[in-house]
């Protein structure tokens, strides 16, 4: 699913990430650990095709990302990867339902209300579909963000610090929902965190 070889990325002269080899099989759940500044976010952005690494080979979901260009890379990302960000960044002026519909529209997938309702329902926020994000609690927004990441049935789900700023119970729920949603569609899950509370829930770990 993911194959990384001799990867290095630098911002100017400063090295942000170095990783000689990392292999992830389809359906595995991985935790990427490290203190802040260790390159967790950079690694996630590299395998999401958001940045091109300075050096190395990256193959994700059957594509060599270093060879994908522009619009084809965007298209690949839309259909293959779902991303949950630490700051959830739901689109403020769109309702919950339209935030998910936006993901379908941008992926050029059919705009399927049933799929949207099913996904929101599975995450326990089905009743909030016509609300604006600002009318939701932090926990509910977190669920909507996860729903938006998985609504297009990606093969790979990435989460960057999904439990930061959450209390223990909420953090546990988020990890549970992420693994459950990834498992439900056989997607590979990679969670980047420095949150010690999460460690126990994952067997595969990558320390940066």
């Amino acid at each position: 699913m993911i194959a990384v070889r001799s990867l290095a990325h630098r911002y100017g002269a400063a090295e942000a990430l170095r990783l000689s080899e990392w292999k992830v099989a389809q359906g595995e759940r991985w935790l990427v650990l490290g203190r802040s500044g260790s390159g967790k976010t950079t690694l996630l952005h590299v395998i999401a095709g958001l940045i091109r690494p300075t050096e190395g080979e990256v193959e994700v979901a059957g594509e060599n990302l270093c060879r994908l260009e522009g619009a084809r890379l965007d298209r690949w990302r839309a259909t293959s990867v779902g991303i949950v960000l630490q700051a959830l960044h739901l689109v403020k002026h769109l309702s919950v339902r339209d935030n998910l519909r936006l993901a379908q529209y941008l992926a050029k997938a059919p705009q399927d209300d049933k799929r949207i309702d099913d996904t929101l329902g599975a995450l326990g926020v089905g009743a909030k579909s016509s609300r604006r994000p600002s009318e939701l609690s932090q926990g509910e927004q977190q669920r909507v963000a996860i729903a938006r990441a998985v609504v297009n049935r990606p093969k790979l789900v990435l989460a960057d610090e999904p439990t930061a700023n959450l209390d223990d119970a909420a953090a546990a729920t988020v990890v549970e929902l992420l693994t459950e949603q990834a498992g439900r569609q056989g997607a590979t899950l990679v969670v980047a965190t420095h949150d010690a509370r999460v460690k126990g829930k994952f067997r595969e770990r990558l320390e940066l």
Partner: protein, 401 residues
Amino acid sequence: MNLATLSASYLRARPLNTALSVLLLALGVATIVLLLLVVGQAEERMQRDARGIDLVVGAKGSPMQLMLAGIYHLDAPTGNIPLSSVAALAKNRMVKQAIPLALGDSWKSYRIVGAGKAYVDLYGAELREGRFHQKPMEAVLGAEVAARTGIGPGATFKGAHGLGSEPGDEHEGAYTVVGVLAKTGSVIDRLVLTPIESVWQVHEEHQGPQDDADRKALEEAREVTVVLVQYASPLAAATLLRQINSQSELQAASPAYETARLFSIVGVGIDALRGFAAVLILAAGLSVFIALYTALEERRYELAVMRTLGASPGKLFGLLIGEAFVLSLLGVILGLVLGHGLAAALGAWLESQQQYPVTGLEWRPEELWVAGIALGVGVIAALVPAWRAYRTDVSRTLAQG
């Protein structure tokens, strides 16, 4: 969901900014549309009223005043000229037709014009009711006069001296309405027509009792106010005007030339208004630019997230252009409605003032240009913000927040 609904949804979430941009653009477009309608209709109307009239001949004075009084019945006449000069003009080989008019009185601020059948034929006016006047003190009403005063054949009225809205002394003799003209859309709709003899008769009554010698003297002193002249051939244009103006007591004015001069004078004001409207449209463009540009800072996460969801940079570019387009389209539509509405309101007011009417229910091809330019300004204003959205550095933006 598509680009249009996505753009509209964003604009709806910022009603104040949206309303400001839309309103500025609408005001600019409305001003220009109003100008187009009013100026265009006034020009057409003046051309229609002056059609078939090559020269206006009257007493010495301002040639523009002569034209305004003799053709458009808007100003006071420059004075009277002897009746004998009409015959002299009619005999001139360069003149095809000379139509004398006698002005001076009014009724309910509609002008009473002493004129023969030739004047009615000049505007192609047909009778709607009754017959043409044959004897002195018979009157034929223009369509608008009849409609506004509500009288028809058989009614009588007394003319007042003078032309303004404030009537002077009422004359003794009463006119009898014998006919009403059908609507022509020209100046004749607003006139009361009577034989020239009526005008003489009404004014000679002032002179009191007369013997035969007095009467003869009065008849010799009979005058008309203006003569409308049609050239016999285009060649006459070169010489007739100069020939008449070289005589001591007559003055000739060319409606084509005087109208052009009038519009060149009024044109300064029109150009100023047009410039003002252009400033409004540019200000609207600026407001679109500022609204979209300043919002970029706040929206950078939103835009970056769209990239993570698979939007290409081109999609974000299109999104901002789409927002500007929706704003401009709303502004243009509102502006067109507003412009036509104002023209209609102005028309209703002018009609109540017995002035040249203006209609808002008319479409001018130039409006398409105005709409196109306004849309263009809005979209061009979005180019820089759209380019910045295009260049969004997703990874760096997301790493910050």
